[in-house]
Symmetry: C2
Subunit: 409 residues, 2 copies
């Protein structure tokens, strides 16, 4: 009799935590676990705004998967998933087809463009190591290009569409980076514009009380960020963005952080989706295929009040824990444990030494919030890789030359 | 009676050395000296290949002019020269018109495209701080772009047109930089191509003996440089270069170092020019306007054998010395001193720790040549700014993060 086969797709927060928990819980000969991921590293999506802005090295936002998994218990395949065949219990990769008894889908999100023309072609997104490395290079490239042809002042304008969590955290870092970029390229800082455009009437992550939002926007404005609220982007073009009111903003760099949707492979596979995401049962399983667990941005978990929880790293990590436990219970014939989201709060960084957030019901801001943000990051690193990973990514971290203040540029 | 007016156009090797020598020789009330330059810094053209490749910081290739001149003796204007009017003894700048009794033209060179279509639009050149900063950013940008769309392998191909002095020194540095770029962007080094294309049948600076050329090409090939000799570039297009034989080489980066000509302002002003350069008399004065001295890449100095000396930093510096002396002698009514070029040799860098060259008649190569190259740079820094400048640019130099080997990327 062959061992049951578990296949985990995606090594984001949900998939990786499932794998790491599972390798602690299972015996090596009990089950065959395969983890499939596009890259041979896991990256911390919540940290990507920093390498995107260039205030931290991208190396501090990722960890090699082989450093985290026990290869005696988990077989890792670096591959891009082509197709999921839930009826046949198969997953198609470029070079092979995997069969499974239980599947965990943690394939993350895709950009939601809301049908805005040109966004996919001309706007950049903060969603992978490759994409943020590109954003950083693109921004620098525009500064260098401006110095060759200084009539193009728009090369120094950076438009960020979306002032939610990711948009805000990126803009906060970017504003911190501008003085370094100006020094690096001999550019007058007064020529640089950062314009954050948001369709809804408020900036900053939703759900924060008004006074925190005001505090946060004040911090950002003092750094030079311009807000355009209640403003829709109608189209993105090679040289800038067209607003709903017909105004065209010329910009060398356009970043879109206006929204995400679930990975389209799920819809392609016949799962019923809402904006690409699949509604799951109390045990995080597909309602159509109970042998498929879905975690993270691909899943919709309903709150007891009947509204879906927002997708974020916090819930994905907890889903990973729950899924690992339920996989084990399934194998051992034990009753499954229903998923209960333990919301601990939200802290959004506003750049160097500044943040705002809510912990349970307590508001936090300023240096304390910034410190808490660091602690949240540290806690996650500890969870997946223990003290050594905290040392590597946070304490003895990769140096980012552009941030070194003492360098005369 | 007003003081005689000397105007020096350009703070390259020729103009800057003229100014620095002049301020040593003259008394403050003897003559009004004005130095006009496009930038408020002087840059060492012979060092530009390093920041272009990204193996050194551009800051180590420039010096603020105010650090070098004595403002009690030399009035500095940061401006671009619009027009020279030698009949009226005037120089037109954007915001003012200067009059002179004696003019020194050291306005440097322009790119010689030999009429090859597309070169001006799509190829980059190694000729200023701005241009090399751009080359560096462009190369990095192509690596980042490749990671977003890895079917475009041509993004990783760098074509350098011209395998003379500048082309060779750049290619040597670039080959050294590739491992760092590959690490920085997770790129397989075997995908990167550096192709140096040269119309003449030999690579490396002209005038070197065959055994040195062979040694040099061997060093370069071992670093991964591919040579295409006796090969003309027929056209440069946005995605690559078209060769004389009809072959198209797709390339994300094209650098043109195939030749330079004198600044076109001279021709515009009615000077008789050959490839933009003006033939001068024994005292480095225009044959048409003896109150105009011409130095550096704008001038043609004939050797006693009757052929023009190649334009380079070495001759320009010596011309600066001579011109300062002759300006003084003119003012004081003393006989002028004819210019005699003292050729000390040539050393071309081939990247880290490698160089080849000739000192008078002695051949040098390898580490010794690389050391001599450093000494030549140091000597020039000493000449214009003394020991403090050597310390600043060579010893306690600006750090270049991308070269730091110990950083795990």
């Amino acid at each position: 009799m062959s061992k049951p086969k578990i296949v985990i797709l995606g090594a984001g927060y949900g998939g990786l935590v499932t794998a790491i928990r599972l390798q602690k819980l299972i015996k090596a000969d009990e089950v065959a676990v395969t983890l499939v991921n596009k890259h041979d590293y896991h990256y911390m999506t919540t940290h990507l705004h920093m390498p995107a802005a260039g205030t931290d090295h991208h190396e501090n936002a990722r960890v090699a998967i082989k450093e985290l998994i026990d290869e005696r218990k988990i077989h890792f395949i670096k591959a891009t998933v082509q197709q999921i065949l839930p009826e046949e219990k198969k997953v198609v990769l470029a070079d092979e087809i995997l069969t499974y008894d239980y599947l965990v889908v943690g394939l993350g999100s895709e950009t939601e463009t809301f049908g805005i023309p040109g966004l996919r072609e001309y706007a950049m997104t903060i969603n992978s190591i490759n994409s943020v490395r590109f954003i950083r290079q693109h921004t620098q490239y525009m500064f260098a290009k401006y110095k060759l042809d200084s009539k193009h002042k728009e090369y120094l304008t950076i438009v960020v569409g979306g002032a939610g969590f990711t948009g805000t955290e990126f803009v906060g870092e970017l504003a911190d980076r501008i003085p370094d970029l100006c020094q690096m390229f001999d550019v007058d800082p007064s020529l640089v514009q950062i314009i954050n455009i948001e369709a809804s009437p408020t900036a900053l992550p939703p759900g924060l009380p008004n006074d925190l939002v005001e505090y946060g926007m004040d911090v950002m404005r003092r750094k030079g960020v311009q807000y355009k609220l209640s403003t829709a982007i109608k189209a993105c073009e090679p040289g800038g963005v067209l607003l709903g009111d017909g105004q065209f903003i010329p910009a060398g760099t356009v970043i879109w952080s206006g929204g995400v949707r679930g990975n389209s492979l799920l819809q392609d596979a016949g799962f019923h989706v809402q904006r690409g995401r699949v509604k799951v049962d109390d045990y995080l399983r597909s309602l159509q295929y109970p042998d498929v667990f879905i975690t993270g941005d691909c899943s919709i978990v309903m709150s007891p009040e009947g509204s879906p929880y927002p997708a974020n790293a916090q819930i994905a990590v907890q889903q990973g824990y729950n899924t690992a436990t339920n996989l084990l219970h399934t194998l051992r014939g034990k009753p499954l444990r229903p998923f209960a989201y333990d919301y601990k709060g939200t802290v959004a960084s506003l750049g160097r030494g500044e943040a705002i957030g809510i912990l349970k019901v307590k508001k936090v801001k300023g240096r304390l919030a910034a410190f808490l943000k660091k602690m949240i990051d540290a806690r996650y690193l500890f969870l997946i890789g223990g003290i050594p990973l905290i040392c590597k990514k946070m304490i003895f971290k990769q140096k980012q030359a552009t941030r070194k203040r003492h360098v005369r540029n």
